[in-house]
């Protein structure tokens, strides 16, 4: 039986077994490939999306268990209308290979929603589940702090 999800504000009907993870619903069925597959076991954070504003690892949420509205990186902002956190990512030239960055940005956005002015320790705690093999962490930290400041000033 098809399941209906709300993704980036749009209702989507999905006809897949209940246990298919949200990640693979998004990528293969809905065609939203900004959310990345890295490990499949919640060990890297590349698949991070928001459900009702909370950062979750979409590889661990079964289709039948999606409890609220889903926001993906595509719903956060677009190339012509980027969210503040995306703009600071660009301004600080964070990405290298870029594959983990959708997850990093979604996780950072949830951090800032909860903790508008994060300390280094807050950033360490919130972001350590997100792996980056290129090692862009110093610039990620700078971009998060810059975004926090810009959001507060806005």
């Amino acid at each position: 039986m098809p399941t209906t999800l709300t993704i980036n504000g749009t209702a989507q009907s999905v006809d897949l077994p209940d246990d298919v993870p949200l990640l693979w619903v998004l990528r293969d069925e809905v065609g939203l490939t900004g959310t990345k597959f890295g490990c499949g076991v919640a060990a890297c954070g590349a698949c991070t999306v928001h459900i009702d504003g909370e950062a979750v690892r979409s590889c661990q949420v079964a289709l039948a268990d999606v409890w609220g509205e889903v926001t993906t990186i595509e719903g956060l902002g677009t190339p012509n209308n980027m969210a503040t956190i995306q703009q600071t990512w660009v301004d600080h030239q964070v990405a290298q290979c870029g594959y983990c960055q959708s997850g990093q940005i979604m996780n950072a956005a949830a951090l800032l929603a909860q903790t508008p002015n994060p300390t280094d320790a807050d950033i360490d705690d919130a972001m350590q589940g997100n792996l980056c093999r290129c090692g862009t962490y110093p610039r990620i930290r700078a971009a998060i702090k810059d975004a926090a400041q810009r959001i507060q000033e806005a």
Binding site: W24, E74, N130, R133, Y137
Partner: protein, 744 residues
């Protein structure tokens, strides 16, 4: 927007919707012997293999793979600098497989010279040997050679295109081209009127591009400056396309399960798996199986449910046996004695020290698991693959499905990490074989992380035995032996079917080629005859030899009672000024020699690799609940830093990649299979344990060096040397977590 599928000759038949109004320029004169793979449609110009111009815009074709190192930005800047293209007008695409894009600089690395002793004669000889790259179709991204290789070629391409556009405008205006100038993607007439390049695309088709001199460095507007990366907005909005994101109508999703012992398959039982949700087919690939389904996750579930009996590995089954076999190579005649200064067998007065070092097998573990998409149509094959060697991928995929190279199109996408892993063709061939079993259907094949970890082409485990003599505070003798399975031989056999003749330079790089004056100095390379699948891992031989050699130098400094930084500086000063320069600079940055509290340790590491000397100082702290790296200072000198922000990012990235491996990276084998599966047992540095960085870029080196790899080798000994300073325990075995209480 242009796509390479539409403009490459091989895909011309498929790309019938050719871009309206464009050109393909002739080839830069000196290199005109390789045919231009770009084909101009009506009203288009491909000014040379690097530039496509049409009414819609200016596209720069990057002959190297963008895997995070910023090469698309830097290569585009080389063309744009001379061509006067406005930065925001640039679109960059990966080049198709083509001889015109061969990597001349890469082969130059294989010559057994001390790189740093770069006389003009040797520089030219290296360049000429590099021409062989064209014959071998070596369109490879590796060896930190991309900018070095493109530095002149792509600037010439831009300069000759600029002059051709002026000639085209001059003909229209009926004035002398010398009265025209160019800026911001436009030719400017004496009266100030502007002709945008895109409006000249049609006219410039018939102009023969002149060969003109390059601009002086002092005139540069883009080069030498930190430019906004061309891929940054896409990568910050989830819109940058990786191979794993390929979307085609009617696409099906697949995965594979191959033999983790890297040999054949005896039998398999898919009777249950093929009844599982979403499964459409299970395909016998000979040495494994492929599953096609309507969803990647369902394909992976089914692949795991297939009962398979594997053949045993062709190499010893356990890490212990592999290390024993590697150690046995010390007793074999050396494959190389590239460095043999003075006489290490002579009796030399002083204090003698010896040490043996061990480092493990390592995986690349790129963030994007191996994947490729393919569609097979009986007489043609199209492959979308994030790869570092498109010609090899094209040829191997053609061979796998019985087509000719001309029938195969390879689209190189952005790479979600490479580090050497994506120089391989295995995953592209898997997608090809599955697609062949499912004709006319696009197949997107993705490996699970577990498949990726267990089927890497690993950095080899390696051992070293060093003997040294110090007297009067100085090194008098270094005699080092390095034993490992050869990456060069193993990879060459797999990629091109033969072993290169002569000594294996890569096996001893990072030790034999170090720019130190030591009166008696010999390094011998010993090759273990093993068949573990090995590949090029960021910095290759330097990744183990940098640790061996620099750690031993640190041990010698300690035995000599000398300051470790001054000890290195003295040896480098006599041999290579840029190397001495980075050692001195990093000392100044870190305020080396200043008093530190008891719970702080500091170490220096230095390696000259890929033409770039890099010195790093690492500071570690015993926090009381584990040891943490506080800070890392890096000084490097690649001669000309084309984009300082990208160089800074690469140095930092290289060091973090090295720290991750040195701290905890280890692939072990049991029953012929890698024992690690995922990031929970093969992890890397994360936000909470990454140090602060400070990078200084010097520009005194005469010849251009690389940036992507040279930051990695010195990071590992620098960390070990800092831990020695803190604890008094010498790090002779990696990963360090076996010996030290590090915060992971």
């Amino acid at each position: 927007m242009a796509s390479i599928g539409k403009i490459a000759r091989r895909t011309f038949l498929i790309g019938t919707a050719a871009i309206a109004g464009g050109v393909a320029f002739g080839v830069y004169q000196v290199r005109k012997d390789a045919p231009n793979p770009l084909v101009a449609g009506d009203g288009e110009a491909t000014l040379n293999p690097y530039i496509l111009l049409n009414a819609e815009g200016i596209t720069i074709i990057a002959p190297r793979a963008e895997m995070g190192q910023g090469v698309h930005t830097t290569l585009a800047a080389l063309v744009a600098e001379e061509m006067d293209v406005a930065w925001e007008d640039i679109t960059v695409l990966h080049g198709p497989p083509a001889q015109a894009y061969y990597n001349q600089a890469l082969l130059g690395l294989a010559l057994p010279f001390r790189h740093y002793a770069d006389s003009d004669f040797q520089h030219n000889l290296r360049k000429n040997v590099g021409m062989v790259g064209k014959l071998l179709n070596l369109q490879v991204t590796g060896g930190s050679t991309s900018t070095k290789d493109a530095y002149e070629r792509m600037r010439h391409a831009g300069a000759s295109a600029r002059e051709a556009l002026k000639l085209a405008a001059a003909a229209q205006l009926d004035i002398d081209a010398r009265d025209l100038r160019t800026e911001n993607s436009a030719v400017i007439a004496p009266d100030g009127s502007r002709f945008h390049y895109t409006a000249l695309a049609e006219a410039v088709r018939d102009v023969s591009p002149p060969d003109v001199a390059l601009r002086a460095k002092s005139e540069w507007k883009y080069l030498g400056k930190s430019m906004p990366r061309t891929d940054m907005v896409g990568k910050s909005t989830g819109t940058a396309p990786y191979a794993a994101d390929t979307k085609l109508d009617g696409m099906k999703f697949a995965t594979v399960r191959m033999n983790p012992r890297r040999s054949g398959m005896l039998s398999y039982d898919d009777s249950f798996a093929k009844t599982m949700d979403g499964v459409e087919a299970i395909i016998d690939l000979g040495d494994g199986i492929g599953v096609v389904a309507n969803n990647t996750w369902l394909a992976i579930q089914a692949a795991n449910a297939v009962d398979i009996e594997w053949e045993a590995s062709s190499y010893p089954a356990t890490t212990e046996e592999l290390l024993d076999a590697t150690r046995a190579a010390f007793d074999l005649d050396p494959n190389s004695t590239i460095r043999d200064d003075g006489d290490v067998s002579a009796a030399v007065e002083g204090t003698e020290i010896t040490a043996e070092y061990t480092v493990p097998y390592l995986a690349h573990s790129t963030m994007e698991p191996m994947n490729a998409t393919a569609i097979y149509r009986g007489d043609s094959l199209e492959v979308w693959s994030g790869n570092q060697a498109p010609i090899i991928v094209r040829d191997k995929c053609a061979e796998a499905c019985g087509l000719t190279a001309e029938q195969v199109t390879v689209h190189t996408t952005l790479l979600g990490g490479g580090f050497g892993r994506r120089g391989e063709y295995d995953f592209s061939v898997h997608a090809t074989k599955i697609a062949q079993a499912f004709p006319d259907t696009p197949i997107r094949m993705t490996w699970s992380r577990e498949e990726d970890m267990q089927h890497d082409f690993y950095r080899p485990a390696a051992l070293a035995q060093f003997r040294g003599v110090v007297a009067d505070g100085k090194a008098q003798l270094v005699d080092g032996k390095i034993a490992a399975q050869s990456v060069t031989h193993t990879s060459s056999m797999r990629l091109v079917g033969q072993v290169p003749p002569g000594p294996d330079r890569g096996h001893v790089e990072g030790a034999a080629d170090q720019p130190y004056a030591i009166p008696n100095f010999r390094i011998t390379g010993h090759l273990a005859d093993l068949s573990v699948p090995l590949g090029f891992w960021r910095s290759v031989g330097n990744s183990h030899n940098g640790f061996f050699f620099d750690t031993f130098i640190d041990e010698m400094a300690h035995a000599a009672g000398a300051d470790p930084l001054q000890f290195r500086l003295d040896m480098a000063m006599a041999e290579h000024a840029p190397s001495a320069g980075v050692i001195a600079a990093v000392g100044e940055m870190a305020n080396w020699g200043s008093e530190t509290p008891d719970n702080i340790g500091r170490g220096i590491g230095f390696t000259y690799s890929f033409g770039t000397p890099v010195a790093e100082v690492v500071e570690v702290e015993d926090t009381g609940s584990g040891i943490k790296i506080n800070k890392c200072w890096i000084a490097c000198d690649m001669g000309t830093a084309l984009d300082p922000s990208i160089v800074e990012a690469q140095m930092t990235s290289g060091a973090i990649y090295g720290f991750s491996a040195a701290m905890q990276g280890e692939i072990t084998f049991f029953d012929g299979e890698a024992e690690q599966f995922n990031f929970y047992d093969y992890d890397a540095m994360r936000m909470h344990n990454v140090p602060e960085f400070e990078v200084r870029i010097l520009e005194t080196n005469n010849h251009m060096g690389g940036a992507g790899e040279p930051g990695t080798p010195p990071s590992m000994p620098a960390l070990g040397n800092a831990l020695f300073d803190l604890t008094g325990t010498r790090a002779r075995e990696l990963p360090l977590i076996k010996t030290f209480d590090l915060i992971l």
